[in-house]
Amino acid sequence: MSRKIGRSTEDEITLEARNVQKYFPLKMGFFKTLMSKSVPVVHAVESVSFKIKEDEVFGLVGESGCGKTTTGRLLLRLIDPTDGKIFFKGIEVTSLSDREMRRMRRKMQIIFQDPYESLNPRMSVFDIVAEPVRIQKIAKKESEVHERVVRVLEELDLTPPEEYIYRFPHELSGGQRQRISIARAFILRPQFIVADEPLSMLDASIRSEVANLLIGMVKRLHVSFLYITHDIALARYICDRIAVMYLGNIVEKGPTDDIIRKPQHPYTEALLAAVPVPDPTARRTEIVIKGEVPSAVNPPSGCRFHTRCLYAWDRCKKEEPKLLPTEENRLVACHKYKYGHLK
């Protein structure tokens, strides 16, 4: 399922995030807001940079609260970043007006996680899938809208389409619903799609079916795809490259297979060790790190992972590690690699 990743840097970049940052003000009571000098903020995304090439599936992997969903939404400007820039095909998305942004969304779409909540229960399948076409006023005639809807449903194996277009979401199974939301994202033939955990709510047997369909669509239509997930095992089958996030920062970035075979950041290592394996005889290294993700309101100083890291030393508490190359196509933010292993 993996495709070759172009080696030259001149490859067409579809999307670039440059030091994107997002702080959310913490909700407090009225009185507290008056009395305190500064509003505490949640450091949801600290500083995230990556490029997604044409035709590439890029994965953002991490636990809940690591900022991966926020990053996905920032890219489409569903929320505005606190700092940093986002480029789509060389155009700076972050400086577009709302009206320009709306036009831009023809080319940028999103698939949400929950197929039970992201479809309007009062709209028929036809209306749900046709909505983007109508909003963007792309079709001249209603028959053209119909044609487009039928085609995209067929592409997603919802055949015959006539059987589905008059139904309502509650008449469909979870897998079918998720295919409807995928159809909605693909109907405008976008060049870039963000998929926020599109498979996590589905059962294993249905999940692999939808995953294969999704990948087929992405490949066939040459879409740049950002796949957000907590499931690193599934990411292996879907993504060409992944970035592992922890508390608002990318800690490791590289080709999916390389990272899974040989994780370099201690967090990635722990994350991989925690993934259950469907093989009872498999002997694995047991690294179960203690504790839970610290609060993003007061993130730890220095390396944000040092409070749970098995290798942390003094420097990790003071100095924040930068994302540096450790080998070809691989970036890791850990002092271990810059200063050598001190243990």
Partner: protein, 311 residues
């Protein structure tokens, strides 16, 4: 122990048999709607009002739970002998009570001890699951998901049961926290010599936790036996597909298999083998005759499929 179960209008659980020995962990695996949770609820007779048990027996220590009167079942069996960790347990805690008090509740009502003693028990249970007795005065909202889940586990152990039924004990949790919870459960199982029935759609989790597994499809057990044998050499086509549908981070990358079609409507389950409409190897006999669960020849490995048991 030996379980034999029911026959319903919606044939949620149909002629299911398995046994769990002391200190054993059995996994019940299958897609949603296959009857895993209903099986668990049947064991404790916790079915909703429209659930009816039509036949079979549930033998626990030689006693048939289905013949026991309700009051006895509540007093003597639930909590004290068999306890449950429910699905989405993190939301099953009472929001206005401290976790210490919630753990004390079953202890007081089932063992008739005084508050002081119950409090001590609660404290030691919290220590046991790695939360720490100092957190007994916290309310559920002050705890993270993983800690709430561990509180539920502590609670299920409150009256020293012999069997714990865990229904999707860690599905809503992140991988690292999930690994922590599984580790706690595994350690406790060894320490307390518990029997566990773990219900999950996630085969990989069952592989980590259990020594036996029953694969369910449309209310029936299609394959049952030793976990290594089943995951290594699955015999039933459904099991085979289900395993292939799971992504794994070890070994070579294979394409993800999928099972075409949908699980059947259990109001009108298909005749013969319930999997035949989706089965790539279906023969004529599969449409007519229901396969019986029988030995595959391997040690502790049973399957219900005409392919194996002869044409």
């Amino acid at each position: 122990m030996y379980f034999k179960t029911m026959r319903g209008y919606v044939k949620a659980v149909d002629d299911v048999s398995f046994q769990v020995n002391k200190g054993d962990a059995l996994g019940l695996a299958g897609e949603s709607g296959c009857g895993k949770t209903s099986t668990a609820l049947t064991i404790l007779r916790l079915l909703p009002w429209n659930g009816e048990i039509f036949g079979g027996s549930i033998l626990f220590d030689g006693k048939d739970l289905l013949k026991l009167d309700k009051e006895r079942l509540r007093k003597d069996i639930r909590w004290r002998r068999i306890s449950v960790v429910f699905q989405g347990a993190m939301n099953a805690l009472h929001p206005n009570k401290t976790i210490g008090n919630q753990i004390m509740e079953p202890v007081i009502s089932h063992e008739g001890v005084n508050r002081e003693e119950a409090k001590e028990r609660a404290a030691s249970l919290l220590d046991l699951v790695g939360i720490g007795a100092s957190k007994a005065d916290r309310y559920p909202h002050e705890l993270s998901g993983g800690m709430r889940q561990r509180t539920m586990i502590a609670m299920s152990l409150a009256c020293n049961p012999d069997l714990v039924i865990a229904d999707e004990p860690s599905t809503a949790l992140d991988v690292i926290i999930q690994a922590q919870v599984l580790k706690v459960m595994k350690e406790l199982q060894e320490k307390l010599d518990l029997s566990i029935i773990m219900i999950s759609h996630d085969l990989s989790m069952i592989a980590e936790m259990c020594n036996n597994v029953a694969i369910m499809y449309a209310g029936k057990i299609v394959e049952y036996g030793d976990i290594v044998s089943i995951l290594r050499t699955p015999v039933h086509p459904y099991t085979e597909k289900l395993i292939a549908a799971f992504p794994s981070i070890i070994g070579d990358k294979k394409d993800l298999a999928s099972i075409p079609g949908f699980p059947p409507d259990l109001l009108y389950p298909p005749p013969g083998c319930r999997f035949h409409p989706r089965c790539p190897y279906a023969m004529n006999v599969c449409k007519i005759k229901e396969p019986q669960i029988s030995d595959t020849g391997g040690a502790n490995h049973f399957v219900a499929c005409h392919l194996v048991t002869g044409k």
